[in-house]
Symmetry: C2
Subunit: 353 residues, 2 copies
């Protein structure tokens, strides 16, 4: 007990903090500023081998079972958007974080923070969507919590969902396992969730409406695992978009990546909206897509399996893992030039999940 106390007493914030430093919106973007917060505060404080893997889920063993555990708070604004709402999103986001570790999602906790004055009708619609999404994903909500804060203390409603899943014996997916020669697979077109939210928030109207791609990906993952192809790791490119997900993997595995721009599926409406809004679709959030790093021999088999699944019909091999410039992701444009695809620096779109 006394040695513990000593450790506690000697812990202090690892990086000097000045009185002027404050949290900005970009710290929640999933890009460079989020990584800064993680490396300055959370990793030094809580660093342990499980957390330090920095995957979307922690894997731990209890007796002979390997379980996955993940948490996500949802603060999306507005609460309702084309293709979903905060309730369905809270299920999809957490189910996907489990699925990206190869886990079969089993149980969810749901914790609401409600703003005083929230209409019961809104709560009812969100609860109904959340329940429908959980039922569709085959997960049970087994524990929960509700807090209420006064008007002005919270913006309508926040939801935290934490999830538990089970991982098959022998399956180890992690961002540090990409190897030169591996192929990069993407399950479909990018940018739809972020653009749907932005359009709703700003009252923009497009000729063909853009819906969020929010969906639970665990059955697509199950179809991929069933091929017995060699998957190194998977990510759902949410906040920070495809670029941030790939940069994280490249950094973690100390490898380079080369993407083929023409191979990345992008709907015309999303391309148009991004051009109009000055956004790069590589940085726009998705909530129903996955990117997988796979062994070269397994790429075609996995691609076939993905394309046979409703959520992977437009799957593509979008690039290759290289040994050049570890940590760097580059993209070859259709014109044959090359550009660096860096992590998102600040916040492109706050509160998209």
């Amino acid at each position: 007990m006394s040695s513990e106390t000593k450790t506690i007493a000697s812990f202090s914030c690892p990086v000097p903090v000045t009185p002027n430093e404050r949290v900005v919106l970009g710290h929640g973007s999933g890009g460079k500023l989020s990584a800064d917060l993680l490396h300055r505060f959370f990793l030094p404080a809580f660093g342990n081998p499980t957390l330090s893997r920095l995957d979307d889920q922690a894997i731990f063993a209890v007796n002979r079972s390997r379980l996955a555990f993940t948490t996500d708070s949802f603060v999306v604004k507005p609460l309702f958007f084309p293709g979903g709402n905060i309730g369905s999103l809270a299920v999809h986001g957490t189910v996907n974080d489990l699925a990206m570790g190869g886990a079969k999602p089993l149980y969810l906790s749901v914790a609401f923070i409600l703003g005083e004055g929230l209409p019961f009708e809104t709560l009812s619609q969100v609860v109904t969507s959340l329940r429908d999404a959980a039922e569709e994903a085959g997960v049970e909500v087994i524990t929960g919590d509700t807090k209420v804060v006064e008007k002005g203390g919270c913006d309508g409603m926040f939801i935290n969902t934490s999830g538990i899943g089970i991982v098959a014996e022998g399956l180890h997916l992690s961002a540090n396992q990409a190897r030169p020669g591996d192929r990069i697979l993407l399950s479909g077109s990018i940018g739809e969730h972020g653009i749907a939210i932005l359009a709703q928030r700003e009252g923009l109207e497009f000729e063909s409406p853009i819906e969020s791609d929010s969906a639970a990906l665990h059955s697509l993952v199950a179809a991929m695992l069933a091929t017995r192809g060699e998957i190194r790791c998977m990510r759902d490119p949410t906040r920070g978009g495809l670029s941030s997900a790939l940069n994280e993997i490249a950094a973690s595995s100390r490898v380079g990546m080369t993407l083929e721009e023409r191979a990345i599926p992008l709907r015309e409406e999303v391309r148009g909206a991004c051009e109009l809004l000055g956004l790069d679709p590589l940085y726009v959030a998705n909530e129903g897509k996955l990117v997988a790093i796979v062994a070269p021999d397994s790429a075609e088999g996995l691609l076939d399996a993905m394309r046979r699944h409703p959520l992977g019909r437009k799957a593509q091999i979008i690039g290759t893992v290289t040994s050049d410039d570890p940590g760097l992701v580059v993209m070859r444009t259709p014109l044959g030039t090359t550009r660096i695809v860096d992590m998102l620096a600040g916040g492109q779109l706050p509160r998209i999940c």
Copy 2:
């Protein structure tokens, strides 16, 4: 798949909701209004045997292991108070919810919602406290999430902690197991957390400062379980206080309860503060106390074990479970009269956890 779809389509909010009905602060109080929200929205939507136990934690089995799972969001205001802050509280609250199910706490997730403009110094202090509390409780933070919302979108900082623990084979504690004749044990004096928060918030000063009792109770629980005494159920009387915790157990077990007012430990300063503020200490939140319903033969042995533990030194047998008036909790005053101890109707003190 089609039968599932049918179920989904036929689900709708079970109780008609009128456009005028809105969330009020009392819905977060842990009293009658919280129960109303649970019974109108959450149980009809998510009802399953695990959730419907309505204990502080869900217990599920994976292969041969029995695991406990719980979630809690913390919105306490102010973030710092005598005896702790939102970081230590977030650990203690979730560790205690696991411990009340007899689980040994193992892992935590931590999800921050930060308000834009939050000073890094504040974040650093909270993270340090959270880490210290986790280390002291022997739990590992293995997964996390950070979101940032713009100024005015969230009041400084909210934290969600979800927790996983392991339950020994054969141990089944649940609120529906109290039986007439059982004794009601309380681990110490009540009301300190709520009064400490209120005093801090309102700038009240007392002759002797009142500190929150916030503490992790898992080692006290371990000491109780080691006696092999028969424990039916345990609760930590947080929001809604001792009265709400006992009313929930009485309702769930369909039993009555008779409390002895003179046996309930209450510090003089807390009694004085409650009189001054017009609060009933039975309804004021605790964050480091537990109430246990135990078999009559085991009461003395368990009481001894509690009193030998630093967090149970003032433990008392405060009452008896009866077969009179199922669901009703009554208290005998020192004058020999009897009063009904009902559930908290509205919200006595918002945002105390």
